[in-house]
């Protein structure tokens, strides 16, 4: 049972990383980015592409991050900013269009077969905790990165001037503009930051297992479930949501490999019925 819980928490770490970028964009702009999962896959393929260009693999994995920041800033500034507003339709259609474009662009350049990022044995390295229990080093690393990312985001939002601007623009964009903030730039910064998190998640997913152009939507659903179950508006909530999803899926997989993901979805829907505001809703 302990082994199962541990695997669940480790998987939860990965799902948290998937979810943090989405949670950030939800929180600041109330934007639903249906291409979120595809951008994660795009980042993984980005690292593969850079490595293929001859860049040192570890450098390639890191080089993806600044590229993701630039891409995020531009996507928000020049594409998504026009779709913001009360009507959810434009942002849904645009991000859905992006999802189709990314999936097919990757299909065209990398073909459909799954690939993984060269990890020089890191993904097979394991660490014996007790004689009967050993755990992979990479999953531990992912969990640590997830905790650091959650801590970092929470710190940025609570303690820094940029975080204050994020919260102000999220509360009342019109009055934030009155204070001298340029909402359009703040949104672009938020998306840029979210894309760095997306890139980290993409690279780690590529290291951990295989990635294929059509994997995006499934990752979006996991990220979405973690954010909603955790309660919108708090990154610790997203972490809790990710853990819950990871453990639920592990239980499902243990019961029958076919029902793992199914179990995660059902718990999400069940929780939605009981506590729509999520486990840790920010009282606002």
């Amino acid at each position: 049972m302990i082994e199962l819980l541990l695997q669940g928490v480790l998987l939860g770490g990965l799902y948290t990383l998937f979810a943090l970028g989405l949670s950030l964009m939800f929180g600041v702009m109330r934007l639903t980015n249906t291409a979120h999962g595809d951008f994660i896959i795009l980042a993984a393929f980005g690292a593969l592409w850079l490595a293929a260009l001859g860049l040192n693999p570890w450098l390639a994995n890191v080089a993806v991050l600044p590229l993701a920041w630039g891409l995020g800033y531009c996507v928000q500034r020049y594409v998504l900013n026009q779709t913001l507003g009360k009507d959810p339709v434009p942002s849904l259609v645009v991000t859905f269009g992006l999802s189709i474009v990314i999936q097919n662009a990757l299909l065209e350049t990398f073909s459909a077969d799954p690939r993984s990022i060269e990890s020089h044995g890191l993904n097979t390295l394991s660490w014996a905790l007790t004689d009967s229990l050993s755990v992979g080093v990479l999953p531990i690393l992912i969990l640590v990165i997830a905790l650091l990312a959650t801590l970092g985001l929470q710190w940025i939002f609570e303690k820094t001037r940029l975080g204050r601007a994020f919260r102000a623009v999220s509360d009342d964009p019109e009055i934030a503009e009155l204070m001298g903030l340029r909402s359009k730039n703040i949104y672009a910064l938020a998306t840029a930051m979210a894309f760095v998190l997306i890139a980290v998640a993409g690279v780690l997913q590529g290291l951990r297992t295989t990635v294929a152009p059509a994997d995006g939507p499934m990752l979006l659903l996991f990220a979405f479930e973690a954010v909603i179950m955790g309660g919108m508006g708090s990154f610790w909530g997203t972490l809790a949501g990710g853990m819950l999803l990871g453990v639920t899926q592990q239980l499902g997989f243990r019961f029958d490999p076919g029902w793992g993901v199914w179990a995660g979805h059902c718990v999400f829907l069940f929780l939605l019925l009981l506590r729509p505001q999520g486990l840790f809703p920010k009282t606002r």
């Binding site: 204050r164 509360d171 204070m179 903030l181």
Partner: protein, 238 residues
């Protein structure tokens, strides 16, 4: 307008404004000198708030309609206008709920305008705010929230402060407490425009007064010289 007022800081010429497709202002001519306090009164829906929003850039107007110290600023972004020294205390206060009192005040300094105003000076102007500075702004009473809204605007070191119904929903003695702080605020020559529903308060606190009715100026003059009949005539249009 008034001969000899050479130091006019802001004037509007035939200012028109629209809310969606309904017209709210039908050509307003207004001006205010340095260090002056002017009141704007009028019934609900007369266009008082729309006028302030037009000055602050929250409502788009023609470029030549608003002139600030010789420069046409009509239709500019609010974030640009606040950097020029116009600050608005919005109707209904509209503090940032997820920010603490102090964080709300700090938001006012985002425009990075240099000047006399700082947290310390605000805390001795409104002592209660120092005590509650780390509390969420939603946990304050109406009057205290109004003080935060004023403080937030002052933190941008404006040369012209636009106040939209400071007395909204406040008890009389709280209104008195807030308006007592006005002289200290305008001490260094800051001009103030007060949109105010309480007519007698508006007359007491300002030198000149405009009355709006249905988006037009129905009366203007020296606050102390205007009689109650004139005002109720302009107020209700009969």
């Amino acid at each position: 307008m008034f001969p000899g007022d050479s130091n006019i800081v802001l004037h509007t010429r035939d200012l028109k404004a629209f809310y969606g497709d309904a017209q709210a202002l039908f050509g307003i001519d207004f001006e205010i000198g340095k260090g002056q306090a002017i009141a704007i009164i009028g019934a609900n829906g007369a266009g008082k708030s729309t006028f302030l929003k037009a000055l602050a850039g929250l409502v788009k107007v023609q470029a030549t309609a608003v002139n600030w110290k010789g420069q046409d600023i009509g239709g500019r972004l609010p974030s640009e206008i606040v950097r020029l020294g116009l600050a608005l205390v919005p109707e209904g206060r509209r503090l940032f709920p997820s920010l603490s009192v102090q964080e709300n005040l700090m938001m006012g300094s985002e425009s990075q305008r240099k000047g006399p105003w700082s947290l310390e000076r605000l805390f001795n102007l409104f002592p209660i705010l120092q005590e509650k500075r780390h509390q969420p702004s939603t946990s304050l009473s109406g009057g205290q929230q109004q003080m935060v809204a004023i403080g937030r605007a002052l933190m941008s070191n404006p040369e012209l402060l636009l106040c939209d119904e400071l007395s909204l929903g406040l008890a009389p003695l709280v209104i008195r407490e807030i308006y007592n702080a006005l002289p200290e605020i305008t001490a260094e020559g800051m001009s103030v425009v007060l949109v105010e529903q309480d007519v007698s308060l508006a007359q007491q606190m300002t030198q000149r007064l405009y009355c709006l009715q249905e988006g037009r100026v129905s009366l203007q003059g020296i606050s102390s010289l205007l009689s109650r009949e004139q005002i109720s005539q302009a107020y209700f249009g009969q």
